[in-house]
Subunit: 324 residues, 2 copies
């Protein structure tokens, strides 16, 4: 089965799913956010994982959508916390409606995610929910660490990797594990799927950090250098702070971090040059490749015919090579 077939099935499932009717303030924002697109990476991972072991991958569609609904719930609430005006190029829910609507509609969305999970077989249901609970709590923990880091000046590389593991990777890991559980793939296989997911998840986030600085402006879709403008503590900035210690770049970098008024383009250019002189890009790419390769090695260890794993390998390659 090809990636496109899975994606189409997921899009049909999204279009057919109804979350509730009234009051409209509660359910319209869910439909709105779910209709804005996005890569549908998490449900894709779930159905592809199921399809490694069984042709009946369609039984994974509803729980896969549950993961996507959960992911979008975190976006709805994170966007309030980050005061983000746009999501996928469109107004965020708290901007289009108001923050109270975004809080409450998000709450119902989390409940809807649990409801979609009830589509799995009774015999795996409690285990699925326990794993989903653990994952959901970890995603919230990651978001809180991310917010805490904004006001801290002593964030280590290890803390950063752990934060993105919690905020982003564990949900990718769970998406794959869920697919394995639905296919009754056994403990070893579901663990390998989870490990594969968390590793490519970390690689995925590092790719994000790299693209934000080194993306092709014509293909990136967002403003290149957005993280630099905001002093966002990405892997690149943390590494630059570490490697510049005692060098000329140390004061220069700190000057730009402390600057209250600046021309955005000038700052982006200057900080990028500091990154270049410290060789940050190559280090970041090496780190990213390490995680992607560890993930691919996990997938290789999985005892299944190679052709069943092809769509997952294909998707991983797309993530490695993506330009936006």
């Amino acid at each position: 089965m090809s990636l496109e077939v899975f994606l189409k099935a997921i899009q049909t499932e999204v279009a057919q799913t109804q979350y509730g009717e009234s009051p409209v303030e509660l359910y319209e924002p869910i439909e709105y956010l779910m209709s804005l697109g996005g890569k549908k990476m998490r449900p894709l991972l779930t159905v592809m994982a199921t399809n490694i072991f069984t042709d009946d991958w369609q039984k994974a569609l509803k729980p896969a959508l549950g993961v996507e609904v959960f992911h979008n719930f975190t976006l709805m609430h994170d966007d309030i916390m980050d005061a983000a005006p746009l999501r996928r190029g469109q107004p965020t829910v708290h901007e289009k409606w108001n923050p109270n609507v975004a809080i409450l509609s998000g709450d119902v969305m989390l409940v809807c995610a649990y409801e979609l999970m009830t589509a799995v077989d009774d015999k795996i249901f409690k285990h699925v929910i326990k794993r989903f609970n653990r994952t959901a709590a970890e995603v919230c923990e990651g978001q809180q660490w991310d917010m805490n880091f904004a006001t801290r000046n002593d964030v280590t590389e290890e803390e950063y990797i752990n934060m993105i593991r919690l905020k982003t990777s564990v949900l990718l890991g769970f998406s794959l594990e869920l697919g394995g559980l639905i296919a009754e793939a056994g403990e070893e296989a579901t663990q390998l799927l989870y490990d594969f997911g968390t590793n490519i998840g970390i690689g995925f986030q590092l790719k994000d950090d790299i693209l934000d600085v080194y993306g092709d402006p014509e293909k990136f879709g967002k403003q290149v250098g957005g993280d630099i403008i905001e002093n966002k503590k990405t892997w690149l900035l943390l590494k630059a702070l570490e490697l510049s210690k005692g060098k000329a770049e140390e004061a220069e970098l700190q000057k730009w971090i402390d600057a209250k008024e600046f021309d955005k383009e000038v700052k982006v250019k200057a900080v990028t040059e500091i990154y270049n002189s410290l060789g940050i890009r190559a280090l970041a790419e090496a780190q990213m490749n390490k995680y992607f390769n560890t993930g691919l090695a996990d997938l290789e260890k999985l005892n299944a015919p190679i052709e069943r794993k092809t769509p997952l390998i294909q998707l991983t390659k797309q993530l490695i090579e993506r330009e936006s």
Copy 2:
């Protein structure tokens, strides 16, 4: 088993439960809100319902706590939406920390509620979660209706009763139903428990509305007349608006509703006098008693020895007679 024994067991369970460790911003607010007291009515209803059918009521403690954690999650988020400074006489989470902490900590709290539900037997787990999902969504719907009513001038009595059914009653109903499910009491019994709970829940909220106007200031614990000051659309106000139509009280009541500047005590006294002249108190008490009595009749229909139902009857009487 007496009410006090159940309450003590629940308090011990609350004290022993750990929700998570770090980051502290995520888990301290949960401990804080759960430690502020409250009647623990919902978990009491769950364990008492289980105890109707089995002496092993302690197996209901963890899921009962799940209902309490869910209830407190709704308080944490509702307090943000209502910009409430105090909860149980102490600063609300969004005031003591900040709104972002209250959003995210509340989200984790909802996840914790689902995790506590996993303590029920595998064979009833999916049904419990489906019923919990339905209830949770309805509670959010009730909160949204309540917010919508604040800016509407055409709220009917029927809409109001439906709003409090969703916002307050269905969770009391579910608390009891859950106790029945844990005891494997059978479909008819769990339905009667649910009906009993939703009916006393509506009675409970009407009692709240009545106490806010007619409570004894020395026993009530809050400012008497708070709802009148805020023009809160309680059953009493809606009934007064309906019954005053075409009478002298109509303009007088509208004058106080529209007043931008007023002495709070004078407004409370004036509106209370309008209620008195329209006989609102007796009507509200009749309505409240109707729901309490319907609830008690549901409980009577339940096929179980009367002495097993005594604690529930006792608790209901406390709710009817409460002064705060």
